[in-house]
């Protein structure tokens, strides 16, 4: 190689000339890495937004369940589920699970978890088709000793919230 090089004009053999074109190659190579990194950031960002929304929805769900804790466990679960689903409207199906237990006497604890898949847009190139998202929330309703209710609007009576004494 040394002999071949020596026959070339000095100017063409300068270090500057020998490196011509390498920037393009380097850029092309780094572009792949840049796209991967950008893709991951976009997908993860979107997944975090979905998780935040889902988290807010189960928060609202358990609070609604706790507020309506006078009903049976099935009713509490139903209300919690309804409110959570009202707050999270997305294209992806969500699996909710609600549990109601009694940690102390006359105390109701509502726990709710939600799991969904967030389909990826860019990370698909790396074989990641979806990102699993999970969240959970808990609300506890402590016993109420006595409450005085004046049904001035007759809404409770109209809704049969209380049975006549």
């Amino acid at each position: 190689m040394k002999g071949v090089q020596s026959k070339r004009p000095v100017r063409r053999d300068s270090p500057h000339n020998r490196q011509r074109g390498s920037t393009l190659t380097l850029f092309a190579l780094s572009l792949v890495a840049i796209f991967f990194t950008l893709g991951i950031s976009v997908d993860l960002g979107a997944a975090y937004v979905t998780q935040a929304r889902l988290s807010q929805s189960v928060d609202a769900g358990v609070l609604a369940g706790a507020r309506n804790s006078a009903g049976s466990d099935a009713q509490i679960k139903n209300v919690a589920l309804q409110v959570a689903q009202a707050n999270f409207v997305g294209p992806h199906p969500v699996t909710y699970s609600v549990r109601v237990d009694v940690p102390e006497v006359d105390t109701k604890r509502i726990r709710m978890s939600a799991i969904t898949d967030h389909p990826t847009t860019f990370a698909v190139m790396m074989g990641a088709l979806k990102i699993d998202i999970g969240t959970q929330a808990e609300a506890t309703r402590y016993p109420l000793d006595m409450s005085l209710v004046l049904d001035l609007s007759f809404s409770l009576q109209r809704n049969h919230a209380f049975k006549p004494i």
């Binding site: 807010q56 209300v79 409207v89």
Partner: protein
């Protein structure tokens, strides 16, 4: 130099639009947070008037009181025999008095996402907050009006 002259207007539009898109996302986020706070308050027993006062006080950036409005809707089942979600009460406050609630009107059917029936005694509080969005650099003069005039957020508790 010629290339710069050609590309400069496009770059300027993109840069200025980026500022407003950022503001749009930020305002939407603040609006969502305020809506959830209001929903939380009203579901824990605060009256509508108290919730309005607290939300307007908490709103440091959007000026919802003068540029938008809050609508609080109480939804229960229609009657003993009919589980259809029904609007029983609705309160609103703020300068925007014309924005129609997406949940419904008093004594009318309530539209809540994914909820088609309600058990007896169950009340769902719907809080909707709307606010006017004014871009700093209106690109509507260039025929590129892609900003919404009104931002909307809703929460159910």
């Amino acid at each position: 130099m010629t290339e710069l002259a050609i590309i400069l207007p496009l770059m300027l539009v993109m840069m200025l639009a980026a500022v407003d898109v950022g503001r749009l996302i930020y305002n939407d986020q603040v609006l969502t947070d305020l809506t959830r706070s209001a929903g939380n308050l009203v579901s824990r027993g605060s009256t509508a008037a108290e919730t309005f006062t607290a939300t307007f006080a908490a709103d440091q950036t959007l000026d919802i009181q003068n540029k938008g409005g809050i609508i609080i809707t109480r939804v229960r089942r229609r009657n003993t025999n009919n589980p259809q979600p029904w609007v029983f009460e609705q309160d609103r406050s703020g300068a925007n008095t014309t924005y129609a609630s997406k949940i419904g009107v008093v004594n009318g059917p309530a539209s809540i996402p994914n909820v088609t029936s309600l058990a007896p005694g169950v009340t769902i509080m719907g809080v909707e907050v709307v606010n006017q969005f004014t871009p700093l650099f209106p690109v509507s003069a260039l025929g590129l009006n892609f900003y919404p005039n009104t931002l909307y957020a809703s929460a159910y508790f």
